[in-house]
Symmetry: C2
């Protein structure tokens, strides 16, 4: 497998703590297609690692079985391209876990970047964040499942990306679509 | 429901004729999430209409039931935002069907634009196509399911968008991700 085009951008899909419809903090279930679709986009753009973060042990087992199927089970021979995309996926128990893993590899903590459908106080432009990645600084970009990242995660961020606006008042992208659009804005040519 | 931000861009998701892994022409099955995810992105960016194209009557019935659930069934009250996204979805039997519908509304045939993971001879830049939409010319942008649009569809196109490149040699985006990225490149601010 080639490392051609590999960047210092890491992404994390957070399943806890996130918000539900009523803006209460919850843990969400891991979704099969969130793993596949976002891994394929991440691999296309040279994202270094895609972390699936959940504190629940049964979810770790489920993700582990899925990855095993595609990495060394029947899926590996059936679809080698899928195996390659999923090779950048790791499971993590928490945000601190992800940060520790990146710090161990890069010798420093990553710039912690959040995404939200609401503008935050600490916003950074897509161009400025793209430049940080070009400079090879480690970056960890977080996406929230369900109705988005909980305030306790947003508060920890060094910077936050502005919400995606499409020129209408409708604002309900899937996390899969939002991740694809944001990764393209940061790493697309 | 507001028409604020509505554009002249129409999109079509083609289920026949498309290619399989061996580059044979086939018809693919409609996927629930292709409808939901792409409708949400399309609605966010003011796409005029999202056509699901398949010649199979059982698939028409399936899509009809799904739309009914979200438009007037239990889903409509459970998730009004989803209802709004799916309000721009139409089912069509063929590409000609879609073109006829757009022509009936706009008084002229749309500019027919295809997408492909391989560069075509008739390529147009994202900026030029964006300008066509700003000029309020009707545009029909086609995405292929399975392994992409069949040659007979690509040959009919007036122009084609260049493939999405992510700076690596990996090139296996889901159609959901590709559609989101391309719509953002055309209509994002």
């Amino acid at each position: 497998m080639s490392n051609q085009g590999k960047t210092t951008l890491h992404i994390g899909l957070i399943h806890h703590p996130v918000l539900n419809k009523k803006r209460e903090t919850i843990g969400s279930a891991v979704t099969n297609l969130d793993i596949h679709d976002i891994a394929r986009t991440a691999k296309t753009y040279g994202v270094a690692k895609y972390f699936i973060s959940t504190p629940y042990q049964d979810q770790h087992q489920l993700v582990g079985e899925l990855l095993q199927h595609w990495e060394s089970g029947h899926g590996a021979s059936y679809n080698p391209a899928r195996k390659e995309a999923l090779s950048i996926v790791s499971i993590a128990a928490s945000l601190d876990d992800i940060i520790d893993t990146i710090e161990a590899e890069h010798g420093k903590a990553p710039l912690l970047v959040t995404t939200s459908a609401v503008m935050q106080d600490n916003s950074v432009s897509y161009n400025d964040l793209a430049q940080t990645i070009i400079n090879k600084e480690p970056v960890l970009l977080l996406f929230g499942t369900a109705h988005g990242l909980a305030p306790e995660i947003l508060k920890r961020a060094d910077v936050s990306l502005p919400p995606i606006k499409g020129g209408t008042d409708y604002n309900h992208l899937s996390v899969r679509s939002a991740a694809s659009i944001i990764i393209d804005r940061l790493l697309g040519s």
